[in-house]
């Protein structure tokens, strides 16, 4: 797994250009509610894409930084959704209380589960995360008196913030989008920080990372907790936004989808999985409105991507770009 995009040395002008491009992209994303006033459905789809992007980012924080491959990331997403939904029904509808509560409880649970999980190597970790996802999926049915079982968690009250109800789709979109931007900024910051460097060292060579004195288990656990908490936050936001949570959120298909976002976008590129999630969510919506057999195309595409473009579509594109640029340089020289 090379990490060309993140570690590519950038000349000054290029960096300024990249900064401007990012700013433009961020502004374009923020402007979505302004030009979709007459298309309420597009705005909802865009909001879902933003939630998907947050989940994808959370998985990339684990997969892309420490190289731990989670096949049950939907477990944390669904856990956050159910926890927030249940707390909203039973305690309070104030997001200022709800979301921190969800994050804190997720940190506690993911620390306990992660304590055993991150000590496992590669395949065992992958298998156990898948199993953990299925266990939480089963838990929804065990506690069906609280969770609503098969029907899903219905009737989550409209959330409030500082006494105001959050109802308008545009406000929702900006709230979700704001969370995404903050999370992205945080992810980029971590990537440049010593913590991010230590994580990358673990991904590249765990043995050597241990030899140079890094506390590998603790660092892996930290990345697992950060990743789980962000996913749970996304789940909580989604449950409040949607007004309901269904057991499908915890299904392994959902985990597969999240994994697909990251693989499609390129593991470890931070921005790639976010774009992957957005593209994928929109595509899924339009394809599944045409055909019933969405899962076949999804699975087939998944297999194809892994075989043909293991670095993700964006990895493939940037590879091609570099090759063209190199060829051009070669011609002019």
């Amino acid at each position: 797994m090379s990490d060309e995009i993140a570690t590519m040395p950038m000349p000054g002008t290029d960096r300024r250009f990249t900064g401007l491009a990012l700013l433009a992209a961020a502004a374009l994303g923020a402007s979505v509610p302004l030009w979709t006033e007459n298309m309420p459905f597009v705005l909802i789809l865009a909001s879902q894409a933003v939630v998907a992007a947050i989940v994808a980012l959370s998985l990339d924080l684990l997969m892309g930084s420490t190289g731990l491959l989670s096949f049950g990331h939907a477990a944390w997403y669904g856990f956050g959704a159910y926890l927030t939904g249940i707390a909203a029904k039973m305690l309070t509808a104030d997001v200022v209380v709800l979301l921190p509560l969800t994050v804190v409880l997720t940190i506690v649970l993911s620390a306990i589960v992660g304590f055993v999980l991150v000590r496992q190597i590669g395949k065992t970790f992958a298998i156990l995360t898948l199993a953990f996802g299925q266990i939480l999926f089963a838990l929804v049915f065990v506690l069906s008196s609280i969770t609503g079982g098969e029907d899903g968690l219905q009737g989550i009250p409209i959330p409030t913030a500082f006494g105001f109800q959050i109802v308008k789709p545009a406000v929702w979109y900006w709230l979700l989008y704001g969370v995404l931007l903050v999370a992205l900024a945080g992810a980029f910051h971590i990537r440049r920080s010593p913590l991010g460097k230590a994580w990358l060292a673990i991904r590249e060579n765990t043995e050597r990372a241990r030899f140079i004195g890094l506390n590998v288990s603790l660092l892996k656990l930290l990345s697992y907790i950060v990743s789980a908490s962000l996913a749970a936050l996304a789940g909580g936001l989604f449950a409040l936004f949607n007004g309901a949570a269904s057991p499908d959120l915890l299904n392994w298909f959902e985990s597969g989808k999240v994994l697909m976002y990251v693989v499609l976008g390129g593991v470890g590129t931070i921005i790639g999985p976010v774009i992957g999630a957005a593209v994928f969510t929109v595509t899924e919506h339009y394809v599944s409105s045409i055909t019933d057999s969405w899962l076949i195309y999804f699975g087939g595409f998944f297999v194809l991507i892994v075989i043909v473009a293991p670095g993700g579509l964006f990895g493939a594109v940037s590879n091609l770009w570099q090759r063209i640029a190199a060829a051009r340089r070669g011609m002019s020289a």
């Binding site: 000590r119 065992t124 156990l128 299925q134 266990i135 089963a138 838990l139 597969g256 076949i296 293991p310």
Partner: protein, 288 residues
């Protein structure tokens, strides 16, 4: 009384689980691939059992035709798909089989897998056996007999045949095996074929009990994963012991606490076990 009957049912469950897990262990042992699509092979077997019953094929014939078909599919998959990622990092094989599982499940959904169907038990096996005061349906006895017989056959084959020697060699030391002229490519085709066939036959013989639908293999796959982790990844005798342990725990848990809680109990147990013995019962599992 309940305990004795649960114990018998646990043995039945363990036998099916064993048959299913052996394929998983072999594919892992020879190809270093954790096959997430193994549950989909089970579902495919169960659904194929229903299709053949609907097309008038007798149950006994289905027991041969279905594993043969799915086994050939396994060979084709290995040849066309798995072979493409043989030298890639581990991540790719996990992602690939995961995508494959989604693909097969999607196809099964389109072929009537949305509804739960039950395969009819053949008339010859509809009686009930009484062991003292415990009554056990004849079919469950038959089910475990098939599973145990096939497992024994496979183990004997692994121990005594030329093919088995190659498989064990590739399992123990792939590089050395390659040096001695073992063609890993061809071997892997056959191993995936056998593994898929075993999963499919457990699907067919299990269909009258576990029913048949597109995701029927999911739960058994999770149980099988617990089995191979408890026994140690790639360890054959570990898998044999672990399959019965998992089977008994599942059935007892279901009897006393209800189905889904049993799964949770098992997961906690596996996690607890991993803290101290990450290499499984016999300490010979791989950690890589």
């Amino acid at each position: 009384m309940l305990a004795a009957s649960l114990a018998l049912n646990g043995l039945v469950m363990g036998s099916v689980l064993l048959l299913f897990s052996l394929g998983l262990t072999l594919i892992y042992g020879v190809g270093r691939i954790v096959n997430f699509a193994h549950g989909a092979f089970f579902s495919l077997g169960a659904m194929a059992g229903i299709w053949s019953a609907n097309s008038g094929l007798p149950f006994w014939a289905a027991l041969f035709v279905v594993p043969l078909g799915v086994g050939l599919l396994g060979v084709a998959l290995d040849w066309l798909v798995f072979a493409r990622i043989r030298d890639r990092p581990m991540v790719d094989s996990l992602l690939l089989t995961f995508g494959l599982a989604l693909l097969i499940t999607g196809v099964l959904y389109e072929l009537g897998g949305r509804n739960v169907q039950i395969l009819a038990i053949p008339p010859a096996l509809q009686s009930v056996v009484s062991l003292g005061a415990i009554k056990l349906p004849m079919y469950r006895v038959f089910l475990s007999a098939v599973a145990v017989a096939l497992t024994m056959a496979l183990l004997l084959f692994l121990k005594n045949s030329d093919w088995g020697l190659r498989v064990r060699a590739a399992n123990d030391n792939p590089e050395m095996g390659a040096c001695l002229g073992i063609d890993r490519e061809k071997l892997m085709h056959s191993v995936v074929g056998v593994g898929a066939a075993l999963a499919a036959i457990s699907g067919v013989v299990g269909a009258p009990i576990f029913t048949a639908y597109a995701t029927v293999g999911d739960k058994i796959l999770i149980l099988a994963f617990m089995t191979v982790i408890l026994g140690g990844l790639g360890s054959l005798r570990g898998a044999i012991v672990a399959a019965y342990v998992v089977g008994l725990i599942t059935v007892f848990g279901e009897g006393y606490f209800g189905g889904q809680l049993a799964l949770m109990l098992l997961f906690v147990l596996v996690m607890a076990m991993l803290i101290n013995w990450p290499r499984g019962f016999f300490g010979e599992g791989r950690t890589e």
